[in-house]
Amino acid sequence: MFTAIFGSIESGIIYAIMALGVYLSFRILDFPDLTVDGSFVTGAATAATLIVAGVNPFFATIAALIVGFIAGAITGLLHTVGKINPLLSGILMMIALYSINLRIMGRSNVPLLNEETIMTKVRDFWSSLGIDSMLNNMLLAMGFEGTLPRTWGILIVMLIITILFKLFTDWLLQTEIGLAIRATGDNKRMIRSFSANTSWFIILGLGLSNAMVAFSGALIAQYGSFADIGMGIGMIIIGLASVIIGEAIFGTKTLARATLAVIGGAIIYRIVVSLALRVQFLETGDVKLITASIVILALILPQIIRNQKVKKQKEKKRQERLSAVDRKDGGHAAVKTDI
């Protein structure tokens, strides 16, 4: 149980970078960008292929980031210059990337089992620090029973990376360019009247969004020790689920809060899925169904709650009116009997 949750927190933190990318396109730019399903794999494929070719895993991961940016920027170009509908631009890019990803990898699966990756480097570095035994002893001292995590290094280093991405996003969206990106998603007519080329900001925003997605994909490939052509299926929905769950639980009062919520949402999503898979009749293949159900629930529940509230209020008003009429009637009847 603990191992499963520990694992889902680890991967949740890595997926959070992808969720931040989805937040950027979906919420900030108001652009439902389906490129994500493809660019996540592109990131994984790029990093895995380069690592197998002997490139330093850090450079390989940075290369994934750049390739992701290009993929997103092309989707932006399709929409702004090609005047293609946002959903369709994303789908077209996603399909195109499928073939490109196969080309990058040369086959449908690239294993990284015996390669040096960021994860193995982190593990080695971390074990030399000796913090693991300290943390584990602390857990034991608190009366913890069960399997202890093999290393805390990945959790902590990935958390630092994810928080760096969060801080970058927070900073970016406060710059003059970032403000223009936000206004592009909020009110295009207004931002054009303040000398901003919305096309440029859409391209830039989608580029940055997919750069994060591809970076996350590159890390996931190294975390799971393989890149696979199918690993991006439904990624956009996972990102969306993370964003919606995070927003519902942690709120969106300020930008910094909203980006933190997205990270929290990504982790919670992973925990929910791993718990759901412990239910007897559910299988690993059901993950996508569970994800879709979570998003559907997250989209429908708020509506139902709102409707209920409105109904209750109306009912209350009706009761008040009725009781007012009753009183009048009562008074009337009383007068009658008096006569």
Partner: protein, 273 residues
């Protein structure tokens, strides 16, 4: 020298012609050879019935539409083909819809920061700095709405009047070469409309902005500005200069409108008979 400076043409429209749905049964000549020149500091009000071409004229000046023929010049530069996002460096605009001129999910100071970058290159520097916040606060004080104490409030929470006042400030505080006001008080209740009208007058006078204002309200058209033009069927049918405008009343304006319309109808009849 002084004279030439004073008479400097800030905005020039030359022989503007624009037709919509050309070649279809819905063909409509929106602007028919319109010539208009605004000198620096001119405040021109435009009146006219629906479909007279007022909004098309505004859209052609701001670059939302490109004219089929004719040219637009701002401060001596031909901007006819310049896209809207480039041209808005020189143009401040306030729309009729109070929701159109601001970004609702962003705060007041962030909106002001966007407007502040209108005539500058946008960089990766912080949009709202301490220094700018002070400037924003001072600018907001001129509205007398207390918005200077709500810099971090989301604009979506403001009332229509407050949003329109903010839009007006955002369009003007960087002192654009040209200010376009497109029925910017029409969607407000009378007291709010009056507030915005007074603010407009005060701001345009203080910053000596070259302004073009479309309005449906004849009284407003007469009270504000130093020149008035009346449009009908894509043409300017009446131009009232500074001297004449001082004597103008709503009755005179209506009578003039009737007279011109009558003449036109008479000539139409002559053509048809």
């Amino acid at each position: 020298m002084l004279l030439t400076e004073r008479m400097e043409a800030m905005l020039q429209l030359k022989q503007i012609y624009k037709v919509f749905n050309e070649g279809t049964p819905d063909e409509k000549i929106a602007l028919n050879n319109v010539d208009l020149t605004l000198n620096k500091g001119d405040f021109v009000t435009i009146i006219g019935s629906n479909g007279a071409g007022k909004s098309t004229l505004m859209n052609i000046i701001s670059g939302v539409l490109i004219p089929d023929e004719g040219s637009v010049h701002i401060n001596g530069n031909n901007v006819t083909e310049l896209p809207e996002y480039n041209r808005s460096r020189y143009i401040g605009r306030v729309f009729q819809d109070p929701m159109a001129g601001t970004s609702p999910s962003m705060t007041i100071e962030e909106n002001l920061a966007i407007a502040y970058s209108r005539n500058k290159k946008r960089t990766f520097h912080r949009g709202v700095t301490k220094k700018r916040r002070e400037f924003f606060r001072e600018s907001l004080e001129t509205l007398h709405l207390g918005l200077e104490n709500r810099l971090n409030a989301k604009v979506g929470l403001l009332s229509g009047g407050e949003r329109q006042a903010l839009s007006l400030l955002m369009a003007t505080f960087t002192e654009p070469e040209i200010l376009l006001l497109d029925e910017h008080t029409a969607a407000l209740d009378p007291s709010r409309a009056e507030l915005i009208t007074n603010l407009t007058k005060e701001i345009v006078e203080r910053l000596n902005l070259t302004t073009l204002m479309v309005t449906h309200n004849m009284k407003q058209a007469i009270e504000l500005g130093n020149r008035l033009i009346m449009m009908d069927k894509g043409q300017i049918i009446l131009e009232v200069n500074e001297e004449e405008k001082k004597q103008l009343t709503v009755e005179k304006l209506l009578a003039e409108f009737q007279r011109i319309r009558g003449e036109q109808m008479a000539s139409d009849r002559a053509v048809l008979s």
